[in-house]
């Protein structure tokens, strides 16, 4: 198993009485595509943040290749795990290429400047997300879908081992986390995103963990589904076993006949 979470809890608020994630155990297999489903406020985003190391769990443990995530240096984690948030707003006018180059941060020394290899890697990443033409454009002037692709490219540049001289680590098996990737996209971008993720998973062997409300995305590209309700795992398994009208109905508190009609 690539990533294993055991009895994960996270609470916040005064005295920590609000439990966003409550005793979640799950494992992510290398090469899989995992969807975390759940109603608003079920703890999806918090779980993604915990698993990617952005938040520290109040209880429980996460291991990456059998090593506790909390023990691994930040930069080392960043070379293995990248995160694409729901939306990115910038206060300053960086170009798309500059944003992608920021993905190379964990691979450079404190005062090191990106070399030709890093630039090539960044342009490559833009190419594979179909945004090569946007390289010199200001990020703030891109559409929502374009912005997301550039951020995905930044994540790819972050995870890309091919341009690193250091080959001692062997196969690294990167993980890409995405928080509601289709939430603000129109139909065409949704379909293109699904195709892109499938390609990255197949060709680059990137493991993908995403939170979503999009049942179609979950059933079309995911190998595994985790259903989250009130911070607890309601069900987990391959989409064909879990995405039943009954379970989806229970997950969202909707009558299962309505779900069956919506999913048909």
């Amino acid at each position: 198993m690539l990533l294993v979470a055991t009895n994960l809890s996270f609470s916040y608020g005064r005295n920590g009485q609000i439990r966003a994630v409550d005793g979640v155990s799950l494992s992510v297999e290398s090469g899989s595509v995992v969807a975390v489903l759940g109603p608003n406020g079920s703890g999806k985003t918090t779980l993604i943040k915990l698993l990617s190391g952005a938040l520290r769990a109040s209880h429980g443990d996460i291991t990456l290749d059998q090593v506790s995530l909390a023990q691994i240096p930040r930069a080392t984690v960043a070379r293995r795990i990248a995160v694409v948030p729901q939306d990115t707003h910038l206060a300053f006018d960086y170009t798309a290429l500059e944003i992608v180059l920021m993905g190379r941060y964990p691979r450079l020394g404190a005062f090191e400047i990106e070399g030709p290899d890093d630039i090539r890697c960044a342009l490559d990443a833009l190419e594979s997300t179909g945004t090569r033409d946007l390289a010199a454009r200001p990020f703030t002037q891109l559409s929502g879908g374009e912005r997301q692709r550039v951020i995905i490219a930044s994540a790819l540049a972050q995870l890309d081992e091919r341009y690193t001289n250091d080959t001692s680590q062997g196969e690294t098996r990167p993980i890409l986390f995405m928080d509601e990737p289709t939430a603000s996209l129109d139909l065409r971008y949704q379909l293109e995103l699904a195709a892109l993720l499938r390609r990255l998973n197949r060709d680059r062997r990137i493991t993908i963990v995403l939170s979503t409300h999009d049942l179609r995305l979950a059933s079309s590209i995911c190998t595994n589904v985790v259903m989250l309700a009130n911070g607890r795992v309601l069900a987990t398994g391959p989409p064909e076993d879990v995405l039943t009208a009954n379970l989806v109905g229970r997950l969202y508190g909707v009558d299962e006949h309505l779900v069956a009609r919506a999913m048909a």
């Binding site: 990617s52 952005a54 930040r74 206060a91 300053f92 006018d93 941060y105 342009l123 972050q158």
Partner: protein, 333 residues
Amino acid sequence: MSVESPLRRRVPVVVLSFVGMLIAVFAAPFVGSTPLSIANVFSTSQPFADNVDAQIFFLARLPRTLAAAMVGGVLAAAGVVFQGLLQNPLASPYTLGVSAGAALGAMIAITFGAAWPIGGSAGASLAGAGIAVLVVYALATARHRGLSTTVLLLSGVTLNAFFSALILFVQYLSNFADTFRALRWLMGNLDVAGYAPLLAALPFVVGSLAAFAWLARPLNLLSLGEEAATSRGLDTRRAQRVAFFSGSVATGAAVSVGGPIGFVGIIVPHLVRLVVGADHRVVLPASMFFGAAFLVGCDVVARTIMSPLELPVGIITAVIGGPFFLWLLLRRR
């Protein structure tokens, strides 16, 4: 496939701003109510004590020009750091209360320390700035594991208002002559007496500039948001702490030399960004050099526009800066 680094392409701008600063610093001392000749200033044939041109150059105008360069460069660079830290292009080095603390310190020294020399009010302003910084930091970290930029902003703004009230109170207690001196200090003035104030501020300036050099790349990452920066391997809390303290120390040192000279820390970074884009590794050094040249230029105007009257440079920067700031606000919409 082009592999040219967007960073390297902008290096000439940094070099250009550096050259601009050198030219400004060398040329500015020759401008003034008494014309100087280069030959006389650098003449070795007559002793310094008899060489009036050299005396004016080295004892009056050069320290003032160097003060302008130091204060302008530091304020512009600190502006970049605070804007990056707060993720807000409209932030300035004074947003978080450093200048109000410094002003209060200086006011107290001027009013109650009748025996204090000029260096005293500089020291007091530095102490005041330090207290303001610690209060704001304590507030911003009290209920937050990292450094909450929202709380930082709010407590800075509140502290500014509170300290301004205390300044008025101190002013009310002081006599005519002290009030006049205090007001002059608040206007921002580079009329330094010799090199001593510059040398006193130098260690603080050098230390914070070293921190700025390290900060350039972390500030780029912080632009993506705290969590995105963390997921790219940045120790976000450490970067924010370093930015906050180095920016504050730099600002405190600059204010102790020239008083709270306004707008430099906001106009300069914006003009620089218009030319070079957003990368802090270019914006920071270019702003520092251009800020130095800019304030040297403003001070020349301040010294000469109503000659023989010498205006406080803070009036010049405010007259240029106010309309510029409004233009900036409108342009952003």
